[in-house]
Amino acid sequence: MTWLPVSVLFLGIILILVVDLIFREKAKVYTVILSVLTLSFSSLMVIQTKGTNAGSMFFFGDFYVFFSIVGLLSSIIVVFSAWKDYSVELDLGVFFSLLLLANAGGILIAASRNFIPLYLGYELVSIPTYAMIAFKKKNRSSAESGLKIFLLGALSSAIIIYGLAMYYGATGTLQMGGDIINHSKTLAIAALVLITVGSSFKIGLVPFHYWIADVYSGASVSVVNFLSASSKKMAFAFVFQIFFVGMSSWHNSYTYLFAILATFSVIVGNIVAVVQDRLLRIIAYSTIAQAGYIVMGIVAYGEGNTFTKELAMKGILFHITAHVLMKGAAIAAILVVISSTKSDHINNFRGLFHTSPITASALAIAFFSLMGIPPAAGFYGKFFLFLSLVEAGYEWLALIGIIGSAISIYYYGKVIRIMVDQPESKEKLNSFTPINVLLVVLTILTLLFGIFTQDLAIIAENIVAQNP
């Protein structure tokens, strides 16, 4: 009963592979339908299994529900964009089974209260991701970005595992939330630094961010959508588990480290994005900056009292949900342009408002949301994150965040201005109905985000209450 969501995913994987094998050429639509059904059914099961008891290694609380559902539902966006992206080549069935496998890892991360299943879930997310990035076997840039993320991912997981060994030495247990035993302060510091460095690779904070721009511009666009919307959220769930639950009794020793990393990420990410002239690279650097904002939430959570913790957790949940919506819409819109013009250079977006109004409006609203302009989704997350920073006494960090947002208005505004210009040719883009439906749905959700904030706030308060 407890592992029903994961069982549903594994059943879906087997079904998709069999359907792919039987129907061959005609299987594409069937595999898409099967993946969407599996993902939505699995999220229903996640809600059903909330609160079940499965021993001391797992805890099925609100954290589990939120991060599993964010991972599963954002994978539906990936399924749609992969449908468009791979519609002329390659077997979708294998791709979708890798996607579902990564989701099983995400559920394992979100449910763990012990480092053994946590690490297993982390690797179960990472390994299918490497395979998905190197999926186009004949494509040079796809193979190269696959090699890049594999080498850095293997290095980061080796660093994290050594950090976990040090954690085990410092606390004497692999159960989360252990106290530091006497005379092992040095081991605790080593664990903290190693785990922070290792997970900074994965979530892309600034001294360790070099792979992000290359992988985003080299891999195929639907995989970028997965990396940015799904896989990054699972990596964040991993980080939150380690620092909020695993090191909860370590007296906030991690806040300074994360404050420095967040400062660098927001400043470097936003400034380097200004000089880019390919849209996927702009998205990559803005992802680095957004990761910096979410890490600001970790700083405020570690520093503050219960009220600040609730504010920080609200900011984190709002920003993660909003990030899925706006990045999913932006990358799906870029995918539409790339599939017509073969390049994501900024000049290809000239006059998009005249040639393809739906794509252009979706991209523009996603960018307004990324800037953090109110009624759009991105505003709520940033507002609560900065508010919690001020409550926690980190006014300077909030100021850096606001400066970063101000810089981001320039480069998003530049793209929007280019899209409003007169086009060079009146040629219409070849549109694809499912992607248009997806874009419209994501845009409406972005604009009406205010409706969900009440429920998300309750989930945030529950998570803070359930964390030790």
């Binding site: 480092f115 053994i116 690490y119 297993l120 690797e123 390994i127 490497y130 395979a131 190197a134 076997k137 004949k138 494509n139 040079r140 840039s141 193979a143 190269e144 970005s145 696959g146 090699l147 890049k148 594999f150 080498l151 293997a154 290095l155 997981s157 080796a158 660093i159 595992i161 050594y162 976990l164 060994a165 040090m166 085990y168 030495g169 004497g172 247990t173 692999l174 159960q175 721009a213 290359d214 511009s217 080299g218 000089v275 880019q276 002239d277 390919r278 690279r281």
Partner: protein, 114 residues
């Protein structure tokens, strides 16, 4: 009985050696081998720590949490094997496209000129 510090020293030497290899080697295969050395350093540390933490009167009374470190070692070995498998597949794909796996020669995705 060998003290735990000796094991830890060896483990740190292995970890730093592996990290040095990752940062200096140019062949992707050598980098993968260096990463495996780092994982084995972590395994050694887990083994040594669990030797300290496990219940002293072992045969008479024990619980599952006494063996956590040793269990984790087996899981790390399994995960490392899976990672090596996917890595070798990626190396093969890179070799087919570029004809070599020297990372200095194949990294063509770079920052644009500003």
């Amino acid at each position: 009985m060998i003290p735990v510090e000796w094991f830890l020293t060896l483990s740190v030497v292995m970890f730093v050696g592996g990290l040095f290899g990752v940062l200096t080697q140019k062949n992707a295969m050598r980098i993968l081998i260096s990463v495996e050395i780092m994982l084995n350093a972590a395994n050694l540390a887990f083994m040594a720590f669990n030797g300290v933490f496990y219940n002293a009167d072992f045969p008479n009374s024990f619980s599952a949490s006494d063996f956590e470190g040793w269990v984790f070692v087996f899981i790390i070995i399994g995960v490392a094997a899976a990672e090596a498998a996917i890595g070798l597949a990626i190396f093969l794909s890179v070799y087919r496209n570029f004809g070599e796996i020297q990372i200095t020669n194949i990294f063509t995705l770079k920052e644009q000129e500003v």
